[in-house]
């Protein structure tokens, strides 16, 4: 194959794209449609709770257009990291939407559903064999922590996508995937140079992020050849320049020159970026260093249940002694919690008293925390083993904060303005990321299981 064209309609399923842009790039006869659906940006909740980052209706809209486009063109649709975290619950959530779309559109096709959440016994065995290694920085890990995680996913490389398409799947729904594997799988399989294929994949996985003027989420078209690739925004009003494309390897990536993938590292040090015209950019010279195969792990475990109170202070008398007022308030809250639950509770909950307008964004790193304005926002949150305990703490804490005295005012004050009724907000379960490790599988397919289905 001399040339392969493929498209990324959007940076993330559920974030949207212009239907006209998709139509435009479909006319270029692409070999496949790829789409990332994942991110850890929003924190550990999606993986921990098996919940989506974007809403169902938003994802359904995007998926419907992409499935119909793939069927019409008779090309594969590859979706990676389904429903944000790519765990089993996230994957089935996506499959449910796909089934609904197939029913509504009266279409049928062969789908591959690739599970990236292997049995825990497998992971524990790998850990015992020394085949789970920490990256830097990594939290401490032992066997019981690994066994007790709520969800652990393995980030797949290109091989599961390749196998699914080889077996005739037209819609591939993958669990956790490296963002780039979605787009590198078929070009690498077709024999294009891996350096170019992985580099193009890094640019495409964010949709139109590598343009100069991304005024709305949209797509990107790649034309892959044996000595170069060319990227072009799907939206005719968007432009790529050599600088905008080069700049994309900076984005949410620690090292702009070396990007680690399951099968090796993309090396962009000798990449050359050239304008083809005012919208398209040609890239050459990217290299790929093969390395021993590793699969990144992501894990989440329950941290507890959270409740919180939001309020604000406007009284200049209180603001003039804010630090002292908050310190004595904090003591009163702790005493009250001790009195309700006993001293044993002290090690079993976590309280934050955050002050927006002082250091809410940067905490202890804030160099200007001594400077406050004419009002501050207080956020008092509690993490405990169950919701009722957290709720009780927030209710008591909020009440103490509301009436906490200052010496200048005589009698009962109400020193905190609550915007909401009720003022206690229960956040439900919250989770923590617990793994920054890689696993050395016996083969690239070992942690993954492909299930072929028809909707």
């Amino acid at each position: 194959m001399k040339e392969m064209r493929y498209i990324s309609p959007t940076g993330m399923i559920g974030s949207g794209f212009q239907e006209a842009s998709l139509k435009r790039v479909l006319a270029c006869d692409p070999a496949f449609i790829g789409c990332d659906a994942g991110s850890t940006d929003d924190g550990p909740y999606q993986l921990g709770a098996g919940k989506p980052m974007f809403a169902r209706q938003a994802c359904k809209r995007d998926l419907r257009l992409l499935i119909l486009a793939a069927l019409q063109q008779r090309i594969p649709l590859l979706v990676g990291s389904c429903c944000g975290a790519g765990g089993r619950l996230n994957l089935e959530w996506t499959w449910d939407i796909v089934q609904e779309i197939a029913r509504e559109e009266s279409v049928s096709f062969k789908a591959a559903v690739i599970d990236a959440e292997p049995p825990r016994e497998y992971l524990v065995r790998k850990f015992r064999e020394g085949r789970v290694r920490p990256l830097d920085p990594a939290p401490a890990l032992d066997e019981s922590l690994l066994a007790g995680a709520d969800h652990v996913v393995c980030m797949m490389g290109v091989e599961p996508f390749q196998e699914a398409v080889d077996n005739g799947a037209q819609v591939v729904l993958a669990g956790r995937s490296s963002d780039t594997s979605i787009f590198a799988a078929l070009p690498v399989k077709a024999g294009f140079p891996p350096g170019l294929a992985w580099h193009a994949a890094k640019i495409l996985e964010c949709g139109a992020a590598a343009v100069v003027n991304r005024f709305t989420p949209d797509g990107m078209l790649c034309t892959m050849r044996h000595d170069e690739f060319i990227v072009e925004p799907a939206n005719p009003e968007m432009r790529c320049t050599p600088v905008s494309v080069a700049a994309h390897t900076l984005y949410e990536n620690a090292d702009p020159f070396l990007l680690y993938e399951p099968s090796g590292a993309l090396d962009t040090r000798n990449a050359v970026y050239e304008a083809v015209d005012e919208r398209r950019v040609r890239v050459r010279g990217s290299a790929f260093q093969a390395r021993p195969y590793t699969v990144k792990l992501e894990g989440a475990r329950l941290a507890g249940y959270q409740s919180l109170v939001i309020g604000a202070v406007r009284d200049p008398v209180i603001l003039g002694q804010l630090e002292d007022w908050l310190a004595s308030m904090r003591r009163r809250i702790v005493e009250r919690i001790d009195s309700i639950f006993g001293r044993d509770m002290a090690s079993r909950y976590h309280m934050n008293l955050r002050v927006y307008g002082r250091d809410g964004v940067m905490g202890a790193r804030e160099p200007e925390r001594g400077r406050i304005g004419h009002e501050v926002c207080l956020l008092l949150d509690f993490l405990a083993d169950d919701q009722e305990t957290a709720h009780t703490m927030a209710a008591s804490g909020g009440h103490i904060a509301l009436h906490h005295p200052v010496p200048e005012w005589h009698g009962l004050i109400s020193g905190v303005a609550f915007p909401y009724a009720p003022h206690v907000i229960d956040r439900g379960p919250v989770y923590r990321f617990m793994l920054n490790h890689v696993l050395e599988p016996a083969s690239p397919m070992e942690p993954f299981r492909i299930d072929y289905r028809r909707p």
Partner: protein, 103 residues
């Protein structure tokens, strides 16, 4: 002297995964980029001071193709942990905005 905000077209911070954060300072043209790069004012020591860590924990890159200076550090807390203040780490560059650049 000029402030970094007057020289850069973008100053941003963002997660690089849940365990690291990365800062990008991007310039519109090569001369401005070279001027700031040459001044050495964006150093590992400066970034380390912002996050209260050792300079050895800061990775600093000069990325010529995009006229960008980049620094990556371990996150102050793992993303979403109980003491988190910025889940996307999108607002952790404030001290750079008014940084004085000599020359």
């Amino acid at each position: 002297m000029a402030r970094l905000r007057d020289l850069a077209k973008m100053i941003r911070s963002k997660n690089a995964g849940p365990f690291e954060l990365t800062i990008d300072i991007i310039f519109a043209d090569r001369p401005t980029y070279e001027r700031v790069k040459g001044s050495g004012v964006v150093s590992r020591e400066l970034i380390a001071g912002m996050f209260g860590i050792d300079a050895g924990q800061v990775r600093l890159f000069h990325y010529d193709p995009a006229y960008a200076i980049k620094a990556s550090v371990p996150r102050y807390t793992v993303s979403g942990d109980p003491d988190e203040t910025d889940v996307f780490a999108g607002q952790q560059y404030a001290q750079l905005v008014d940084l004085e650049v000599p020359g």
